[in-house]
């Protein structure tokens, strides 16, 4: 079961190599990988919308989509048809070329990052030796597209959304990158494949999340990841109740669908990368194939993101920045130091003790320093 995808690709390549020259086989191999991702990306997006709607529905004591197909499974297709047939409205004062380019430009990085995700054993499209860096770098360019969309719309809400988005993405990029550092330190490699392999396997719990620094990094990375995807509680760039729809206010039809697609693919890839970095990627109990483990872990993280959405209100811009710069950033910096100490101290008890103590102290100190931003308890009088 495990190598089913790898083997089928091999079989396909064998088939082609029988009658095609060698160099085309390489091309075919590339195209198969690209094709798989091109199918997987939009497909994931489609069913994540379905998943999210179902899940939120259940959280809110509703049923969710259930009219199109059984369990509403054809709903995404119906939505797609709707989006395609909708009128494409470009505002009068818009910068037409940039307005058109922006949603296209945002889908590209979202699709590109799929290429370094190890979906299973030997199932990485490109095993770059800078895999994680590639992921972070490419996803950083989404800022640019959001900016393009916001600016080209010539709408004040879009502009506000764009500015918020940039401030947010640039801020959260920092703790996100810094929380990856301990993991890279531990694995000694930037390649996603190496990262997964260094997390051992099911036996012995070698996942990084089971170490104090790993756990801290997991939380900080995941939170920054949620912020990078513009998801609740960090969805201020498109905060519906405040700035209508933020940077994609002026988009309709398929262009709007592309923004959405990028967002949902980001949700998937960020969850996937979190699973790879901290939850052992495709490593798992041998009962299930490796790719199944990867998807289980990823979807568990996706579930948490949607669960956030079903529960939490959103933060304000300044609080969001405060969280990134005043809390996550110092914590991740200390965490790098703690991870360094971890590999420096030989004795297990000592290193666990030091790590927990240091991180706890930092957490407490940061809470104390930020206490003005923390909620206060209120008392109420009762008049007769």
């Amino acid at each position: 079961m495990d190598p089913i995808f790898v083997n089928s690709k091999k079989a396909l390549l064998n088939l082609f190599s029988a009658f095609l020259p060698d160099w085309t086989v390489v091309l075919v191999s590339i195209f198969i990988s690209i094709g798989a991702i091109m199918v997987l990306g939009p497909f994931t997006m489609m069913y994540l919308t379905w998943f999210e709607r179902k899940l939120l529905g259940r959280i809110q004591n509703r049923i969710g989509p259930n009219r199109v197909g059984i369990f509403g499974l054809l709903q995404p297709i119906a939505d797609g048809v709707k989006m395609l047939t909708k009128e494409d409205i470009v505002p009068e004062g818009a910068d037409k070329a940039v307005h058109l380019l922006a949603p296209i430009a945002i889908v590209i990085p979202s699709l590109l990052v799929f290429s370094v995700l190890p979906f299973g054993r030997n199932m990485t499209a490109v095993n770059l030796n800078i895999g994680v860096l590639f992921f972070l770098a490419v996803s950083a360019t989404t800022t640019l597209s959001i900016f393009m969309g916001a600016w080209a719309s010539r709408n004040k809400f879009s502009l506000l959304g764009g500015m918020r988005s940039v401030a947010q993405l640039v801020s959260y990029e920092v703790p996100m990158v810094l929380s990856v550092v301990p993991v890279i330190l531990a694995a000694g490699s930037l390649s996603t494949v190496d990262l997964v392999e260094s997390q051992g396997g099911w036996n012995g719990f070698k996942w990084f999340v089971f170490t104090p620094w790993g756990f801290t990094a997991f939380i900080t990375f995941y939170l920054s990841g949620v912020a990078e995807c513009n998801r609740t509680p960090f969805d201020i760039p498109e905060g519906e109740s405040e700035i209508v729809a933020g940077f994609h206010t002026e988009y309709s039809g398929m262009k709007f669908a592309l923004w959405y697609m990028a967002e949902f693919m980001n949700v998937f890839t960020v969850s996937g990368l979190t699973a790879v970095l901290f939850l052992g990627g495709w490593q798992g109990a041998p009962g299930l194939p490796s790719w199944a483990w990867f998807f289980i872990k990823t979807y568990a993280l996706v579930f948490v993101m949607m669960w956030f959405r079903g529960t939490l209100p959103r933060l304000r811009v300044d609080q969001l920045m405060g969280l990134a710069w005043k809390f996550l950033l110092p914590l991740t910096l200390v965490n790098i130091f703690v991870a360094g100490l971890w590999f420096f101290i030989p004795d297990l008890r000592w290193r666990v003790g030091t790590a927990v103590a240091l991180l706890g102290l930092t957490f407490w100190a940061l809470m104390a320093l930020n206490r003005t931003a923390l909620p206060e308890k209120r008392t109420y009088e009762f008049a007769e």
Partner: protein, 198 residues
């Protein structure tokens, strides 16, 4: 932190409960899915529910209770009722409406026509699915669209029907008795001849 986690717990509880707990109407008490899948499932109709008005007739369609007294049209707060009294072939006014139009685009379902009607002729219906292909003409209901039998009224609002019928019966008896006494008083006297027309 703890507050957020507690909130997450509550939403998770609701999420899981939606798979376990029963649906409407029990779910209103227990939690769980409260959706009513409208065209297929319907909530039980409340007897007192009021929507657009209708005119009642006793037995056959000719027997309209409405005497076209115009009270409802006058009392109607948004003035959505329009009545024209029927006349016989000689142009004498009859106690029934020729035109009785209600503009449902204007009607606000307040039920004041029903309260004001001294002849128990107009009542509020339970029918609410009156959508039409356009927004003006199909929502102006004419006399014949509005007519519904007393049986329909009995079906949708049995309690009110019983009370009203009892009152009507009493009124009728009283009227009959009064008429009887009037007749009894009138009988011994000799009939005065109709005064000659000038």
């Amino acid at each position: 932190m703890l507050g957020v986690l507690r909130g997450m717990g509550i939403t998770l509880k609701n999420f899981l409960a939606s798979y376990v707990l029963p649906r409407r109407p029990d779910s209103l008490e227990t939690g769980g899915i409260v959706t009513v899948q409208y065209p297929e499932e319907r909530l039980p109709e409340k007897e007192n529910f009021r929507n657009f008005p209708f005119l009642v007739f006793d037995g056959t369609v000719d027997n309209i209770r409405c005497v076209s007294c115009d009270i409802c049209a006058k009392e109607c707060p948004p003035k959505c009722i329009y009545i024209v009294r029927d006349t016989d072939s000689e142009g004498k006014p009859l106690k029934r409406p020729k035109v009785f139009d209600i503009d449902f685009t204007v009607c606000m379902n307040c039920g004041i026509c029903e309260e004001a009607c001294p002849f128990d002729a107009i009542f509020m219906d339970h029918e609410f699915e009156i959508g039409g292909p356009e927004r003006q003409k199909s929502l102006v209901y004419h006399r014949d669209d509005l007519l519904k039998s007393t049986a329909h009224f009995q079906k949708i609002r049995p309690t009110d029907f019983a009370a009203i019928e009892e009152r009507r019966k009493k009124d009728a008896e009283k009227k009959a008795a009064a008429q009887a006494t009037v007749q009894a008083a009138a009988q011994p006297k000799p009939q005065t001849p109709p005064s000659p027309q000038p």
